[in-house]
């Protein structure tokens, strides 16, 4: 398989605090990579580096590199374009203070798309993919902030999908969602895999097992082990990995 995304000796520091220490791994195109690890192990910092949202943390300092199709993400001059190619869903739902329709149409419009018919198609596709369409199709003019927490989380996902990103990052996407919806979104992610490379972090080890092709186990800011999902769960090379995956630590 062709490598789509690669972290090379990636380190992140917040002032004197080290969040990520010389992390290296590769993600093949059109696969799902699950980053697991205990709290504070650097999962979120890792994701934020992938689409340079780390830039908004004024104290963060990044060394090493992330390569997207072999091109440096860290030194790219066009972070805005990068963020359209690498979509991101954060764990806490954020409905923008505008209608559901405008929420989903925000990114295409920010790129200058004004054609109503085209926008309609994008909005419907993104909302269907995020399993929200049936609940909101009759009230697309409702404020996004009026939706429930779980619905707002799916709205956030729909916004990210509206750009048809080539890489989709999800940080603990299921924290605010009920189990049934979580399962439906997991099905969607497996479908999206045909066209999208997905990197997700999760605290739910079983979720990683259900979804991932590849698992990256982070602990104390460093990569302990990287491997395909079956060998990680059945024949981990390190005792620490086995303990974490069995729920003994973390």
């Amino acid at each position: 398989m062709v490598t789509h995304l690669e972290c090379r000796n990636l380190s992140v520091h917040y002032g004197d605090v080290r969040a990520l220490d010389r992390v290296s791994f590769e993600v093949p195109r059109h696969s799902i990579c699950a980053v697991v690890g205990p709290a504070n192990s650097g999962k979120t910092s890792l994701l934020k580096t992938l689409n340079r949202t780390i830039d908004f943390e004024s104290r963060a300092k990044v060394t090493g590199d992330v390569l997207l199709d072999g091109v440096s993400v860290i030194s790219t001059g066009d972070a805005l374009d990068l963020r359209r190619r690498v979509g991101m869903v954060f764990p806490l739902p954020v409905g923008l203070p505008m209608s559901i329709y405008d929420n989903v149409a925000y990114a295409p419009r920010s790129q200058g798309l004004r054609n109503k018919a085209e926008l309609d198609v994008i909005v419907e596709r993104a909302l269907r993919q995020s399993v929200l369409w049936d609940e909101v199709k009759d009230r697309l003019d409702l404020l996004g902030t009026r939706l429930s927490g779980g619905q707002q989380q799916r709205l956030t996902l729909a916004r990210a999908l509206s750009m048809q990103p080539e890489v989709l990052c999800l940080d603990e996407f299921s924290i605010a969602i009920d189990p049934v919806t979580t399962m439906r979104i997991e099905e969607v992610l497996l479908e999206l895999k045909a066209t999208t490379t997905i990197v997700l972090t999760t605290n739910l080890v079983q979720q990683a097992r259900r979804l991932a092709d590849q698992v990256v186990f982070l602990n104390a800011s460093t990569v302990v082990e990287v491997g395909d999902v079956v060998s990680m769960f059945e024949r981990p090379r390190f005792e620490l990995t086995a303990q974490y995956l069995q729920g003994a630590i973390g």
Partner: protein, 300 residues
């Protein structure tokens, strides 16, 4: 056997403390409101004999002893409108820079400190600055434009502080969600931040307006005069002062008739105060009404 739901000693103590705190804070509020009401009632009672609609519409005659208050009233209106037109774009733009663009650091903190300090400068100092900077240095002379500029400088920190507060009330998560989608800061500002803070910014500007309307010191040396002859004829009386000429203003008028004019009928002095206070109250009420409306339309 005691009843299981009777309050314990500790719970009774807590109730007493709560009741006491409520009584103290309530009495402070009542005292404050009383002062406001008393001021207004006292003014109204003393001004009653002089109050009439013609007071608003006619121009003052004989050092303000007869006639009305139209000339100073329209002067104040123009002064305030001009100073707000000057201060709003600069103040709002500065607030946007400080809140949305400026990197967090020593320089930004210093600028914020300077702005805050500017708000604490006494108005008479602003008056002297206006005299030096606008009247003399910029060669505006004592004029409507010089006074408007001076008031604008004085209100700059008020507008900046109110605008920053309004911008800061828009959660950072909204901005991050937009940046996350590849939207630029500028696009985010126009599509999400400004639409949701405009109300707060407007309210701040209106409060600055009301402050400008009541100030005497900053216009004392910079353009306000006790007496200017203006036309009585209808359309002309709406814009009677040229930008580069001195003008009359209510606060200035009140200051002079209450301290300089001998044998001034008392009720006329109080009537002038009533008109000035009513003007300020009306402007403030507009700000409150706007704020209430916006709160009802809150989007999150």
């Amino acid at each position: 056997m005691t009843h299981p739901f009777l309050p314990t000693e500790y719970e009774r103590h807590k109730q007493v403390v709560t009741a006491r705190a409520r009584a103290i804070t309530l009495s402070a509020t009542v005292a404050l409101s009383l002062v406001v009401v008393l001021i207004f009632v006292a003014l109204l009672v003393k001004a009653a004999p002089a109050l009439s609609l013609s007071l608003l519409w006619e121009n003052p005659l004989d050092k303000g002893k007869t006639g009305g208050l139209w000339a100073p009233l329209i002067g104040t209106v123009w002064l305030v409108v001009l100073s707000v037109l000057l201060v709003s774009p600069i103040g709002v733009a500065a607030a946007i820079y400080l809140n949305e663009y400026a990197p967090a650091g020593r320089t930004t903190r210093l600028i914020s400190l300077a702005v805050t300090s500017l708000a604490g400068v006494p108005s008479i100092v602003h008056a002297l600055f206006g005299l030096g900077a606008f009247v003399l240095f910029a060669r505006m002379g004592a004029s409507l434009q010089a006074a408007a500029c001076t008031l604008a400088v004085m209100n700059l920190p008020v507008v900046i502080a109110a605008s920053r507060e309004a911008l800061g009330a828009v959660p950072r998560t909204f901005r991050e969600a937009c940046w996350n989608l590849g939207a630029s800061r500028w696009h985010t500002l126009w599509t999400v931040v400004l639409p949701n803070s405009l109300g707060g910014i407007l309210t701040g500007v209106i409060f600055a307006v009301s402050r400008a309307a009541g100030e005497t010191a900053p216009i004392l040396f910079t353009g306000a005069v006790f007496f200017a002859t203006i036309p009585d004829a209808f359309p002309q009386r709406l814009a009677p002062y040229a930008l580069d000429e001195p003008f009359m203003a209510l606060a200035m008028h009140l200051h002079v008739i209450s301290t300089q004019v001998s044998q001034m009928p008392h009720e006329r002095t109080f009537a002038t105060a009533v008109v000035l206070v009513t003007l300020v109250l009306l402007i403030n009420s507009a700000a409150f009404a706007l704020r209430l409306r916006l709160r009802r339309n809150r989007k999150w």
